[in-house]
């Protein structure tokens, strides 16, 4: 009995914070826009009675999804989100791997310090950090001032309000999520395994490709998912650093919700985003599962 109630707690938690909101959003996505409070219809209260509920159900339809599939904006923003997420995940990996490798091979005195430095940005608010990037990347920002001071360029580079700024923002923000799992995988790697590879005829470089990389694979995959999943739905970074033509599904969603006050369409976009994300999330879970099996 006590065990059952213990198991119940997380399920109630999931029900209250995931299932119920999901059903509400799904319901709104099937509603129609209305100039009312709340800004959609139909609505149903338990006090209205069962007959009213049937009428309420018949008022729901997939109109908004049809609308989404007809307007190219939504397709483009979904594809552009995918593209930005894939590229920035790849860039993050390129930057994170050498850092993780360096930390894993640093002396034991230095390792905690270096790891601390990786996590340090989390001590400041995410928003403040993105705003600082605006200060760095803007036409009169630190970067341009520095480049002009050194004489590399004469006119300021247009970085802010472009996709490049979005990539910089995403790579910067999610770098720790890539470094940590890769570091964990490399740290587990026994030095004697690399020596064994050399003993059996590998040079240092072939040992790296044949042993280090395959053994860090699970960490690399985990890191990629940890960056890709939030990057796909990213809203703040493209909103603050990107330009007006940076299309991302999160930005579109926010636009529908606040500027257009079209809650039903915004909800439909949210459901679509969720469906897109289900695939990588399931794959990520599978990877974690395999990792646990191998680790055991």
């Amino acid at each position: 009995m006590r065990r059952a109630s213990l198991i119940l707690v997380p399920y109630l938690w999931l029900l209250a914070l995931f299932a119920v909101p999901f059903v509400i959003v799904l319901k709104i996505s099937l509603s129609d826009i209305a100039i009312a409070m709340p800004p959609y219809a139909p609505n149903w209260e338990p006090s209205d009675g069962v007959a009213a509920f049937r009428e309420f159900l018949s008022g729901l339809d997939f109109e908004n999804y049809v609308w989404l599939s007809e307007d190219a904006l939504y397709w483009k923003s979904a594809l552009s989100s995918l593209k930005i997420a894939v590229i920035s995940t790849f860039l993050t990996l390129l930057l994170a791997f050498p850092i993780a490798y360096g930390i894993a091979n640093a002396s034991t005195d230095w390792r905690p310090v270096l790891l601390m430095l990786v996590i340090l940005p989390f001590w400041t608010s995410f928003l403040i950090r993105v705003y600082s990037w605006m200060g760095i990347l803007s036409n009169t920002g630190l970067l341009n001032q520095f480049l002009m001071w050194t004489g590399v360029i004469n006119d300021p580079l247009q970085i802010i309000n472009t996709d490049i700024a979005v990539y910089i923002g995403i790579v910067y923000t999610y770098l720790p999520f890539m470094i940590l799992p890769i570091y964990a995988a490399l740290d587990r790697l026994d030095m004697s395994i690399l020596e064994a590879a050399q003993d059996l005829g590998c040079t240092r470089i072939t040992a790296f490709w044949l042993v280090t990389i395959p053994l860090a694979k699970q960490g690399i995959i985990a890191g990629c998912f940890l960056v890709f999943i939030p990057a796909l739905g990213e809203y703040v970074i493209p909103y603050l650093l990107g330009g007006s033509n940076t299309l991302m599904i999160g930005k579109v969603l926010m636009n529908e919700f606040s500027a257009n006050r079209d809650w039903p369409v915004a909800s439909a976009v949210a459901i679509i985003l969720l469906l897109i994300l289900v695939v990588p999330i399931v794959l990520f879970q599978r990877n974690e599962q395999r990792l646990r099996e191998v680790g055991a």
Binding site: S192, A197, D199, L200, G201, L210, L215
Partner: protein, 445 residues
Amino acid sequence: MIQTELASWDDPETRPLIEFVNVTKRFGDFTAIDNQSLKIYKGEFFALLGPSGCGKTTMMRMLAGFEMPTEGTIRIDGLDVSTVPPNKRAVNMMFQSYALFPHLSVWDNIAFGLRREGKSGQALTARVEEMLRLTRMEKFARRKPHQISGGQRQRVALARSLAKAPKLLLLDEPLGALDKKLRQETQFELMDIQESTGTTFVIVTHDQEEAMTVASRVAVMDEGKLVQVATPDVIYEAPNSIYVADFIGDVSLISGVAKSRVPSDVAPQDSAGGQPSAQQQDTPRQPQPNAFGAWLHDTVFEPVLGARSKSDEQAVEPAQQEDTVTDTVRELPAGGIAIHWADGQDPIIATNADPCLDGKTVNFSIRPEKIGISKARPDALNAFQGKVIDIAYLGHVSTYHVVLTNGLKIMAQVSNTRRISRRSITWEDDVWISFSSTAGVALEH
């Protein structure tokens, strides 16, 4: 391991496979290997034995190429290997931790080194299958290392290091994780493999029994130094120092002052420079009294002590007869030294010791199984009185801890040919311990 021909290490003509020449290895200001020279020959099963931290792994890592000597040279097959990286040496190492590649199957682990050599197709498959058969791992070829047992992992590590048929195979505590039975089986397997492949093995262990079992020669190390390098029987029977005697097996040490004994016309039984040969220990001997001894026996001792044949009944354990009561008082073997170890006690006679030790303080070292124990005074040259303070029953043997009249503790080991209840010696008994004049060794340091 009795060598019929001249063993390679005794033959000055043989070229060694491995040569350490004045090798020193320092880590910072810590000296791990201290100016050591060593030769290991082709086809040897060479064991490095020593306590933790004495530098065994460091010796191996220098051979494999993972560490460079700070000073001195290492030659493999006559070539200085100081500039040869690990992947270019015809040496394979089996790591203490096995160091299997966790992402590869057993099959691919074994094939790893062969693929680096450029082997592929039929040749690769044949060799891998052969290694799998040798280590009886055929059934597990498709499994990953985490899916097999510790003992099986050890076999895979062995198969992987053997696959390239290296000239030299280094085994760093290869059997450390196995239970006793599996360890013994694998020891014999290793010896079989070594015989059938002709590979030279260097094995690191801190299990002295293992070293004695598998090795053609043993090097006993202490704090970066090779204290003694010799065949197992010499290490056991004729250790060159208290350290070696103490490290290998049980030993009782008696310290005293040596006096050289007047040489007589009777040659000492052991004329081979004071080292008992293995053969001597193996073949039972009947004592053959010389003319003087026979006369002494007939006229003096027989009336007092009884006929000679009766002495057999005096020692409790018949198994000990040959070794312990070989030289009776009547024989008076000459040569060697007498060790004065306690006031008012007869000196210990060691006829196999070097008379040059005269006047020096020596430690007489003797193995428990070389000491007989009896209730009545045995008819032995070295016989001393004491009291049993402890008996350790080990199944096939029992070790009696006897304290002599001056407080010195001696261990005597007796094989349990009778059941416990029928054994006549027990705690607090006054007993005699006795041993032959060649049973122990006198060590200076």
